[in-house]
């Protein structure tokens, strides 16, 4: 395991929680960050290559598989792949029909994309924590890089950029449909004229504003928090492997138990993100008065 002699536990954890960041460093120019302080120094104009790579890879995998089925889809007897895809599509459609009471052709595909993508990204959590980063580090060591400074996070949903990216897109859609369905006046009225009537306008704005802003934040932080904590527990369990036979055995059992439990969590988180998106969009379509 990567918790080798040269790394303390703290360094090991730190290593696992640092993204592979490509950006413009004030001193080194355009480069990968070698330490987390390097990444911080790059400021906003940096990109987490690992998050981008794995999220796009997994999203493309989802789209490729579903597209393949969609091209050969038939109303007759479905094959295995089609059966599987239909099962998911049916599940998503049922949820959309249950929670979304307006007409919008975008909501169901949006929900499907969220569910499948988030699930796949979360699923990366079940890959043993050290496997891909270690191989990646060894690969870069071939090119002369110090493997301890080659960072890689394989679970995109443990990067707040990914979860906030989705949540903010959903938030923009909520704003867009709020204004489209109710008009700017209606939307502003909704923000300012309730629950206390027009004389309580500042209070209304604070309350409604908080409830509006809290939607994307809670959406993003819930997913991020769950995945980050889950990843952290996997890392802590992995640390036990370096502590002798007994601890290593315990770690094996713990890792298995936590992985099984985590199957539930990753599915649940993908489902919650999907359902809340549907509900928020339903609220955006709803006229209050």
């Amino acid at each position: 395991m990567a918790s080798s002699e040269t790394l303390t536990s703290q360094e090991y954890i730190q290593h696992h929680l640092t993204n592979l960041t490509l950006g413009w460093h004030p001193e080194h120019g355009l480069s990968f960050a070698h330490t987390s302080s390097d990444a911080a120094a790059m400021g906003f104009w940096a990109i987490n290559v690992d998050t981008m790579f794995f999220s796009i890879l997994l999203g493309s995998l989802f789209l490729w598989f579903f597209k393949g089925v969609a091209e050969r889809v038939s109303a007759g007897v479905p094959g295995t792949a089609q059966n599987f895809v239909e099962w998911i599509v049916d599940f998503v459609e049922e949820n959309v029909r249950g929670s979304f009471s307006h007409k919008n052709a975008m909501v169901a595909p949006l929900a499907l994309t969220i569910f499948a993508w988030v699930f796949l990204m979360n699923l990366m959590d079940l890959v043993p924590v050290d496997l891909i980063p270690h191989l990646f580090g060894q690969l870069f060591a071939v090119f002369g890089a110090d493997p301890h400074h080659v960072y890689l996070k394989v679970v995109p949903t443990t990067d707040p950029n990914a979860t906030f990216g989705m949540a903010l897109t959903v938030f923009l859609l909520v704003l867009y449909y709020s204004i489209k369905m109710k008009g700017i006046g209606g939307f502003l009225g909704e923000l300012t004229l309730q629950p206390f009537g027009k004389w309580g306008m500042p209070a209304n704005l604070i309350l409604e504003g908080i409830s509006l802003i809290s939607k994307p934040i809670s959406l993003a932080l819930r997913l991020f928090g769950n995945m980050y904590a889950g990843e952290m527990i996997f890392i802590l369990i992995a640390l036990l492997y370096g502590g002798g036979m007994v601890l290593a055995g315990t770690a094996g059992v713990l890792q298995f138990v936590w992985a099984v439990f985590h199957i539930l969590i990753i599915t649940l988180q993908a489902f919650i993100f999907m359902v809340l998106t549907i509900v928020y969009l339903d609220m955006a379509h709803q006229e209050h008065h």
Partner: protein, 156 residues
């Protein structure tokens, strides 16, 4: 764990994915599902119709069978009647034929009897004449006494 450009890159990626899913994946699958649903409903309706038609067909077959039975009975009755008719006809034909034959035979017998009688009469006349010739010992002019002989013969 910094918020950086990745955020926007992820937003764009997400939007592209959703757009792709919305354009190329969702519609064909959902329409196939709807189509299958319609097909199944149609199939179920067809099965229901089939059931009804089967029941109707069975009923009609029963009716046809009943009708055929009555027809057959009727035909058999007619045939029997016809058979008795034919037998009766044959009987009466035979009877009348017999009667005719009998009558013909009787007429023949009568005719034969009459002929024999005529013959006998003529022979008797000749015998009488011969006898008379012998009695009278003299030739009798047949032409002169013919009337007498005939009259005599008639009285036989």
């Amino acid at each position: 764990m910094n918020i950086n450009l990745t955020l926007f890159a992820q937003m764009i990626t997400f939007a592209v994915f959703v757009g792709f899913c919305m354009k190329y994946i969702w519609p064909p699958i959902v329409s196939a599902l709807a189509e299958r649903k319609a097909k199944i409903a149609e199939g179920l309706a067809a099965a229901e119709r089939g059931h009804q038609e089967k029941a109707l067909g069975e009923q009609r077959a029963l009716e046809l069978m009943k009708e055929a039975k009555t027809n057959a009975a009727e035909i058999v009755g007619q045939a029997q009647k016809r058979a008795t008719d034919i037998v009766e006809e044959a009987k009466s034909d035979a009877r009348s034929e017999g009667e005719r034959l009998l009558a013909a035979a009787q007429a023949e017998i009568e005719r034969e009897t009459n002929r024999a009688r005529e013959e006998l009469r003529e022979k008797v006349a000749l015998l009488a004449i011969a006898a008379a010739e012998k009695i009278l010992q003299k030739e009798i002019d047949v032409a002169v006494h013919r009337a007498i002989v005939d009259d005599f013969a008639k009285q036989l």
